[in-house]
Assembly symmetry: C2
DNA sequence: TACCAGATTTTGACAAATCAAAATATCAGA
DNA sequence: TCTGATATTTTGATTTGTCAAAATCTGGTA
């Protein structure tokens, strides 16, 4: 019995909530329900069924976490999602701002064989168009720990490595300000009171963005001596 | 309310049954149920619901036929299916023998925008890898009337235009004997008693195939003076 | 320690899609 | 016209996924 679309979506949501909360935390039902756009009671019912199938462990009033079986399945859904996103950008010429919604459906419909062709065609990539890491076929992921524009050093050139928001509007905003993976930026000033971050980007252009937005842009120091 | 996968599959099945039975025939429920792999009672229930939605007309004990609304939806599902099949062959390098099952799932998951990119990328093709005509975005299809290897003239070179069976095994058989769209064949002899057809294919190779198989290979006379 | 606000679970209902099996209709042949 | 074989419909259940709203729990605060 292969998992339904719904089951795949629940597992993926738990997986992603778990990676932000930390590996030992339980995901609260309210958060899970919100992520999936269902009413809390629905999530409770579904999670109980998933627990029956051995895909999650569930503690009433505490929350839910994936078992290793559930974790593997979830990682494979995420793998499909991210490979599809990259495929849509690289091969189909779609914009990175739009591919998420399309991938949200396709991730449940592609076969293992097709996903492997896609992977091969893309040269076994490590990250998707947003810089999100692509889980291996075995279901393992390594998530590099990056600074954000809110935590990185000032006056020091940084490369954008990842933009962690799937909303078309935010991605368009990021693109408009050259905050896409691969671009270089530098934080000029942080104003805690104003809740803002002033940036100098490619071509000396300056922008000031909110702290909220800044925290979604993950960066890494530009290596001192780039390989010739 | 966009139609569910199930509704799309029912409409497509009625559409296809209708094109083989003829435009004025009602599709019997038993046949529809068999095509969809459900028990007859299920088909009856579903068809009644489709009739409620105005997608089909249903006459108890007689059968079902698409309304023009249903026909348009069905044609669009078929359009997606066939464009996806061609895409999988041309762009993803899959075999024409395998793409049907993959397309059966993807046809319900691709957006209109993506399907249009695919159509564009393929150069607005008229037929899929099996020679099946691709419905227009408006939901219209023109089905050319071809001879089959069972009805075409003897000793006269014919081009294979279409192979009308989606089974991997049959398609592999056809491929083995150079009976793929674009190839040239010639019928040497028909033996009604033996229920067989003897063919001479590319490279003078001869094969004898059954009448059943022969009827699935649609052909057209090779034009007298091919365009230089 | 008692209470409350907020989160969570429970209960009861519903829609979609399906099957098994009983009931019924149709149609061809005697 | 009657009869049976076959096709179709009906009936009653089941599974999955969902919501609304009532009931219950939990973690702090007074
Ligand atoms: Mn999804
Ligand atoms: Mn992504
Ligand atoms: Mn289908
Ligand atoms: Mn085809």
């Amino acid at each position: 019995m292969l998992p339904s679309h719904t089951v795949e979506n629940y597992l993926k949501a738990v997986f992603q909530a778990q990676t932000v909360l930390g590996p030992d935390e339980l995901v609260p039902m309210g958060q899970l329900a919100a992520a999936l756009g269902v009413v809390p009671g629905t999530a409770t019912a579904m999670v109980k069924a998933l627990a029956q199938s051995g895909l999650v462990r569930y503690e009433a009033y505490a929350g839910v976490r994936l078992t290793s079986a559930g974790e593997k399945l979830a990682a494979l859904v995420l793998r499909r999602h991210r490979l599809i996103e990259l495929f849509l950008v690289k091969v189909m010429g779609m914009s990175w701002t739009d591919v998420h919604d399309e991938a949200e459906h396709l991730e449940h419909a592609v076969s293992d064989r097709l996903i492997d062709r896609i992977d091969e065609m893309l040269g076994r990539p490590a990250v998707d168009p947003h810089g999100d890491p692509i889980p291996a076929p075995e279901g393992t992921v390594t998530v590099p720990a990056y600074d954000t524009l809110l935590t990185c050093p000032l006056h020091s050139p940084m490369v954008v490595k990842r933009v962690s928001d799937q909303e078309t509007d935010f991605l368009r905003f990021a693109e408009r300000h050259d905050l896409t993976p691969g671009q270089t930026v530098q934080v000029e000033e942080r104003d805690t009171a104003a809740d803002s971050v002033r940036l100098r980007g490619t071509g000396e252009r300056e922008v000031t963005i909110g702290a909220r937005a800044a925290s979604k842009v993950l960066v890494e120091a530009v290596p001192r001596r780039p390989q010739s």
